[in-house]
């Protein structure tokens, strides 16, 4: 299966060519080249998936296949960084997801970004991102993953800052990069600790279940936790940064300053789930050796999910609502992983999480692209400027509705199946957590339909020029994604992706399913009551909630807290004193040395009066003394 290399190389090639050609090519040519390459990549990915799932199943277990592996950098000792391609159920699944969404975004952007300055650059960056993300998922070892991890970070940076003349976009891109970079620091230290004890980077070795490789770490503890727990927790911090887990979530809402298709691709479907993917990738290690960390992941995920869902209910920028919804849904996936056990029915959470990742990618990309279509028509992100758009944009309206229903978990759309599995796994783990997650599911339905009703129903705004349906290049990807969002849930996921590779069919918990759907419908009805027609109800509700509403509206002031910390602690408390210290103390001491030297020289110079008689006096006195010494001593 060495042709899988092409899946990586083609986008890279496309990036290099587009990047070098820059403005020498016409925008349309560049876009077509990028899209064409991506369609080839997508075709290859589908073929890989088909080939993998049809051939790799040996004895009921999906094997890990490494079609290509080369030593990139050999260190002394046993450590080496390899570059290779690892095919196993989750990486193949991710290949499909990434190439599908990326292709859709490529096509969509042809129309959406038309006439933008830097269109070629945009496609080059998209190719770069696709390359990096694909490289991340097929990484054979944790260091390769880190390499591509950084690359997706920078592609995200470049794409968020695409409108580089806009200060908000620049600030957002900077924020995104630095926050994730900070998290990556944890990732890196985690890798260092892990590799120090295991002497390997390779996923195959780490996940082999061979306890011997962790032997040297056993018994080593630091501050009450085993050193392995520290390592895995630090690695999770890396994942938490990319996946915008609380408290590292602050960059994601701001990242919406980038072009909307980019938000769909990077900040909804693919890159932000890299953290989930990372945990899933190292799942055997987490579940076997550091279950404490895994439990922590579950609670972090659950809290983030609730936190983001509450904020999402109050935002008015439609992209931000979607961003918080993304955070919330990723929290779901983390919970799924966190509550999972290893193998068989125990591993439902793992399967559900991956399943949710898959379906979420589809319907969230759909929602973002739909929102993009709306923004394209209305030229604004604000809910207040919208309303009643269902008449003007029927296709968008329909697909957006499908997306909302899917995320709300309404039967038989894809979201229902994946979310239901997660809830089932959570109830298996802890009822309290399960009830919480069910509540979040209701919140999700509520805020999504708040969004939906505000855009497509509600009071009709007076538009400067009447909004119209988007061009075909934009609606086709929407329809395709809507199709996946609708029917994606029917895939028997448990047959393909499980924690131990062995297929199983989870029995559906009908009670739970029905209750979940009911909760979802309740949320929808609530939203309909409040937002379907222009009423005073929302204002009254927000006023009665008062303080809490304000808190949520301002995202619980986490941004302000960060700003305070960076401004006052980081810059004023660290950087300025250090540079002051350097300029004045270190530099001053060197200059002081020079001043002292000069002072001494001036003093010594005073002896050189230039008066012959003084010299002669000293000279004669010296002669006398010396003669005296020679003769009498």
């Amino acid at each position: 299966m060495q042709y899988t290399l092409l899946i990586l190389l083609l986008p890279l090639l496309s990036f290099v060519v587009l990047g070098l050609m820059d403005t020498k090519w016409k925008a349309r040519v560049a876009g077509s080249v990028g899209t064409l390459v991506l369609s080839v990549v997508a075709a290859l990915s589908y073929y890989t998936a088909w080939a993998y799932f049809s051939t790799a199943n040996v004895g009921g277990i999906y094997q890990k296949i490494v079609p290509l592996q080369t030593v990139w950098m050999q260190f002394s000792g046993q450590l080496h960084i390899d570059l290779g391609i690892l095919l196993d159920p989750i990486s193949v699944m991710m290949l499909v997801v990434i190439s599908t969404v990326s292709l859709m975004v490529h096509i969509y952007s042809l129309a959406y970004m038309k006439g933008e300055k830097g269109f070629e650059r945009y496609y080059a960056f998209l190719s770069l991102f696709t390359f990096s993300m694909l490289g991340l998922v097929v990484a054979t070892n944790i260091f390769q993953m880190y390499i591509f991890w950084e690359l997706v970070g920078v592609s995200s940076y470049l794409l968020i800052g695409f409108y580089y003349t806009k200060p908000e976009a620049v600030a957002a891109s900077k924020k995104a990069f630095i926050v994730t970079r900070f998290a990556d620091l944890g990732f890196l230290i985690g890798i260092l600790i892990l590799s120090f004890y295991t002497q390997t980077f390779d996923f195959g070795v780490l996940n082999s279940g061979n306890a011997g490789i962790f032997a040297s770490a056993s018994g080593v503890t630091f501050m009450g936790a085993s050193v392995l727990s520290w390592a895995m927790a630090l690695i999770f911090i890396g994942g938490a940064g990319k996946s915008a887990m609380f408290p590292l979530h602050i960059w994601l809402p701001d990242a919406m300053e980038g072009p909307t298709p980019v938000s769909a691709l990077i900040h909804a479907a693919t890159m932000v789930v890299a953290g989930v993917y990372l945990v899933a990738r190292l799942f055997p290690v987490y579940v076997t050796y550091t279950p404490d960390v895994l439990h922590g992941i579950a609670y972090v995920g659950a809290f983030t999910s609730l936190f983001a869902a509450v904020i999402a209910c109050t935002q008015t920028d439609i992209k931000r609502v979607l961003a918080f919804s993304t955070i919330s849904q990723i929290g779901y996936m983390m919970v799924g992983l966190g509550v999972s056990g290893y193998g068989g029915h125990e591993g439902t959470g793992y399967m559900a999480s991956m399943f949710h990742l898959f379906t979420h990618a589809m319907f969230k990309a759909l929602l973002f692209l739909g929102a993009g279509s709306v923004i394209h028509a209305v030229h604004s992100n604000e809910m207040q400027k919208m309303g009643g758009l269902r008449k003007y944009m029927p296709v968008t309206h329909l697909v957006f509705l499908i997306g909302c229903l899917a995320i709300a978990g309404i039967f038989p759309l894809s979201g229902f199946f994946s979310k239901d599995e997660i809830l089932a796994a959570t109830y298996m783990y802890s009822t309290g957590l399960g009830i919480g997650m069910s509540f979040i599911a209701g919140l999700t339905a509520f805020y999504m339909f708040r969004l939906y009703f505000n855009i497509f129903w509600g009071k009709e705004n007076s538009y400067e020029h009447s909004p119209h349906e988007s061009p075909l290049a934009m609606t086709i990807p929407l329809v395709v994604l809507a199709f996946f969002s609708f029917f994606g849930g029917l895939i028997p996921f448990g047959k393909f992706v499980t924690s131990d590779g062995a297929a199983y069919t989870g029995e559906t918990n009908y009670v739970l399913a029905i209750v979940s759907v009911l909760i979802g419908i309740t949320g929808i009805l609530l939203a309909a009551a409040m937002y379907r027609k222009k009423t005073m109800l929302p204002d009254r509700v927000s006023q009665s909630l008062g303080f809490i509403y304000q808190l949520a509206r301002n995202k619980f002031y986490v941004d302000e807290l960060y700003l305070f910390i960076t401004k006052n602690v980081f810059f004023k408390g660290m950087a300025s004193p250090v540079s002051w210290y350097d300029r004045h103390v270190v530099n001053g001491s060197v200059n002081g040395l020079a001043v002292v030297t000069q002072w001494v020289s001036v003093k010594i110079k005073g002896i050189q009066t230039g008066k012959v008689q003084q010299y002669a006096w000293v000279f004669l006195l010296g002669t006398l003394l010396m003669a005296f010494l020679i003769l009498f001593l």
Partner: protein, 493 residues
């Protein structure tokens, strides 16, 4: 006479040729052809070296030659190269080539400028190819003095102060180095100054530690180790662009290279004894430099402090004493040399157009000069350690190597030092965001020209080198390990 001496001869011949020039065109022609010749010779050297090695030549130093200079004190002109010095020569050649191009249109006295610059280059090349302590020191000094003139005459800002400070501090470093060299010479029986032969001789313990402290501090001053780094910010900021490139690209590497070749390799026991002090200093240097860079407002100052941070990492890696970290240290030398040269080149280009280096005065330059902007961003991304560029490879090799050390102190300091990658990201992105992105500060910037062809060649050469190191690190690490292999046995305990 060794064939390696052409690296010294070419710059000297350039000086002679420059003497007979009488207009800018001729000066440019000679400097371009000379530096191109140097670059080609360096590439040829790499190829020849690798061919010799694959042919099975296992001598530690290839192309070695030894000419007696002054018999009484065993002073020889001994030259030879191993994998490390070959790469250093290549690095110097790339920097000299690009730096010559950057000053293509230097305003005043081009003839004299290039004459002194060639002299500087001769010193740097000579340092890397010599394997005799005296010759090494000779070339080290040769590369110090012209800096005074180059900064003092062609510099900007407080150039007299900076030139004086830089040269005095470097001279101070040289004094310590000279003392150390003499100590080594006499304590090993005053028989030889050849570093290959000296490596087999032993010096008694307390003396070793003292000599190590002297030499490491001396080279540390040249290599900008905290707290001896104060010449770096002033020197870099006052120097003309090409000299800044040379300073941070090669000069600081002279210090690091010497610290390893002389201080660590010849005095391993002293090194082990005192490693902890310098480990703390250099580990601190890494984070300190990064923080200090964060607090600056002048582009060159920012990059100068970034250099301090990155050079601290080299010294840090040296003191870990394992092959991986040492490989990383040399990768970092190459990587930092290239990246920082690229950075200074871009800053110089921006400065020559906007006539300011204050970050607050700039903005939105990406639109006006996209080529330089892209180069600047690439330099920034490479500097903050993005995979695919050399910085990542070097830093990661150092971190992985350093973390393999069994000492608790070493590992804690590695974790401490890794924090720099975040801070680096902060100040780099801050600068990129302010200078290139955002809205334009002055309308006058609209009419600024993008890069000229010589500037494009400079940037493309450097970027290509950075990407090559970043994507094909094993070529370079193999060369380095080739040089390290005979040395490392005596170092690793």
């Amino acid at each position: 006479m060794s064939p390696l001496l052409i690296f010294v001869l070419i710059p000297l011949l350039m000086m002679i040729a420059l003497f007979f020039t009488n207009n800018r065109k001729q000066v440019n022609l000679i400097s371009l052809s000379g530096s191109l010749l140097l670059l080609l010779s360096a590439i040829a050297l790499v190829v020849l070296f690798w061919r010799e090695r694959t042919a099975g030549n296992t001598a530690q130093m290839l192309f070695a030659a030894d000419t007696v200079w002054y018999r009484e004190f065993n002073i020889h002109i001994a030259t030879g190269v191993d994998g490390i010095s070959v790469l250093m020569v290549l690095l110097s050649a790339i920097i000299v080539f690009t730096a010559s191009l950057v000053s293509w249109r230097i305003e005043s006295m081009p003839k004299e400028f290039y004459t002194w610059f060639s002299f500087l280059a001769a010193g740097a090349f000579g340092f890397f190819i010599s394997i005799d302590l005296f010759t090494m020191f000779f070339f080290l000094e040769m590369s110090v003095v012209p800096k005074f003139l180059l900064i003092g005459v062609w510099g900007s800002g407080r150039k007299d102060y900076s030139a004086m400070k830089l040269v005095l501090m470097l001279m101070g470093g040289s004094v310590l180095v000279l003392t150390g060299i003499l100590g080594i010479y006499y304590l090993t029986g005053a028989e030889t100054l050849n570093i290959v032969e000296l490596a087999h001789k032993n010096i008694e313990q307390p003396a070793q530690s003292i000599l190590f402290a002297l030499l490491f501090t001396g080279f540390g001053i040249i290599g900008a180790l905290f707290p001896f780094h104060v010449w770096v910010p002033d020197g870099h900021s006052s120097a003309p662009t090409s000299v800044s490139m040379f300073l941070s690209g090669i000069s600081m590497k002279l210090g690091a290279y010497g610290a390893f070749r002389v201080a660590i390799c010849l005095l391993p026991e002293g090194a082990h004894q005192l490693a902890w002090i310098f480990l703390i200093l250099s580990g601190f240097s890494v984070v300190y430099g990064a923080f200090a860079a964060l607090g600056q407002s002048d582009l060159k100052y920012i990059n100068a402090y970034a250099s301090i941070s990155h050079c601290g990492l080299m010294f840090f890696a040296f003191l870990i004493f394992n092959e991986t970290a040492l490989t990383g240290a040399f990768l970092q030398m190459i990587s930092h040399g290239l990246i920082t040269a690229l950075f200074f080149a871009c800053i110089g280009m921006i400065y020559s157009r906007t006539h300011t280096r204050l970050v607050s005065e700039m903005g939105g330059l990406m639109k006006v000069m996209p080529f330089i902007g892209v180069g600047f961003i690439i330099a920034g991304l490479a500097s903050l350690g993005l995979p695919g560029f050399s910085g990542f490879v070097a830093e990661m090799t150092i971190f992985i190597g350093a973390f393999q050390n069994s000492g608790e102190l070493q590992r804690w300091f590695t974790i401490f030092a890794t924090a720099s990658i975040v801070i680096t990201a902060v100040y780099i992105l801050r600068v990129v965001g302010k200078v290139l992105y955002g809205k334009q500060e002055h309308q006058a910037y609209d009419s600024l020209a993008d890069a000229y062809w010589w500037e494009r060649v400079t940037m493309i050469t450097l970027i290509a080198a950075v990407v090559l190191v970043g994507t094909m690190p094993s070529w370079f690490s193999n060369m380095i390990q080739d040089g390290l292999a005979p040395l490392v046995a005596g170092l690793v305990k």
